[in-house]
């Protein structure tokens, strides 16, 4: 019974965090809410025995990306938006579309219930998600993409520096 309980705890936290981010007026608050979601997702990974990814999730998202966000918000000193956000017809359309996407996804999941694979044994899953296993894959079969993604990160870093420099725009 521990599995479902843990799942529900994390799931509720994740959805709450997401909704919080969506609703909060202040971007800093939004960011904090999102961090909650990130942690919850990391927890969910743990429930699936995907230990390595879980750690990386915390490190990268919560540790790096979200810090970056908050840093930028602070840097620009954007505590509050000058204008209040109110519903207009465009937002209505957006809302309807969102619901539509949700409905489609729900339909897909429900329709696919009987073809979904039955979950592998927990040990096997743990074996699969272990750092050793992933490292082996990553440095053998996916070595080339790994290098490429490294270059991508480098390029992104250089690009970000260039763009953010004064007198660029």
């Amino acid at each position: 019974m521990l599995g479902p309980i843990l799942f529900f705890v994390f799931a509720v936290a994740a959805i709450a965090g997401a909704l919080g981010m969506l609703i909060a007026r202040n971007p800093v608050t939004s960011a904090l809410w999102l961090i909650l979601t990130m942690f919850s997702v990391a927890g969910l990974y743990l429930t699936m025995n995907a230990s390595f990814i879980s750690v990386v999730q915390v490190l990268v998202y919560a540790g790096a990306i979200m810090v970056l966000f908050i840093f930028v918000i602070m840097l620009l000193n954007l505590a509050e938006l000058p204008k209040p956000e109110k519903m207009d017809w465009r937002r209505g359309i957006a809302f309807v579309l969102g619901v539509g996407v949700l409905a489609q996804l729900a339909y897909v999941v429900s329709a696919a219930l009987d073809v979904l694979p039955s979950p592998a044994a927990l040990e096997a899953a743990g074996q699969n998600g272990s750092a050793a296993n992933l490292a082996k894959e990553l440095f053998t079969r996916y070595a080339m993409p790994l290098e490429v993604i490294g270059v991508l990160l480098l390029v992104a870093t250089v690009g970000a520096v260039m763009i953010a420099k004064r007198r660029f725009v």
Binding site: G3, A11, A14, A18, L19, M21, L22, P27, S30, A31, T37, V41, L44, Y45, N49, A50, F52, I53, Q57, V60, Y61, I65, L68, F69, V72, L76, L78, L81, R91, A94, G98, V99, L102, L105, V109, S110, L113, L116, P117, S118, P119, A120, Q127, N128, G129, N133, L134, E137, L138, I149, L152, A156, T157, G159, A160, V161, I163, A164, R166, V169
Partner: protein, 101 residues
């Protein structure tokens, strides 16, 4: 009661849609970027769920790459936000329409 794959999928769907809503509804560019991150997270969740239930590491490898791209995207996106804020003193998307006809 057992936690099956479709639970995770449903959760991921909900998170994804919240992300979509964020992109479509919010006017703050930074929050929009955060919503994009949320969408990526939702997808990651799906990938990991499938990967673990099928005992195939490829899904998690992909998640790894997605995270890298997300990091790159956040870095460049935020840099752009800074640049725009410098020149136009706003990060409200409804005020940024450089490509207007």
């Amino acid at each position: 009661m057992e936690v099956t794959l479709n639970w995770y999928l449903t959760l991921a769907a909900v998170l994804f849609v919240i992300g979509v809503m964020g992109v479509l509804l919010r006017r703050n560019v930074i929050v929009i970027l955060m919503s994009v991150e949320l969408m990526l997270n939702a997808v990651n969740l799906t990938l990991v769920a499938f990967s673990q239930s099928m005992a195939d590491p490829a899904g998690q490898i992909l998640v790894f790459f997605v995270m890298s791209v997300a990091a790159a995207e956040a870095a460049v996106g935020l840099a752009i936000v800074i640049a725009i804020f410098r020149s136009r003193l706003t990060i409200d998307v409804t005020d940024i329409n450089l490509f207007r006809y």
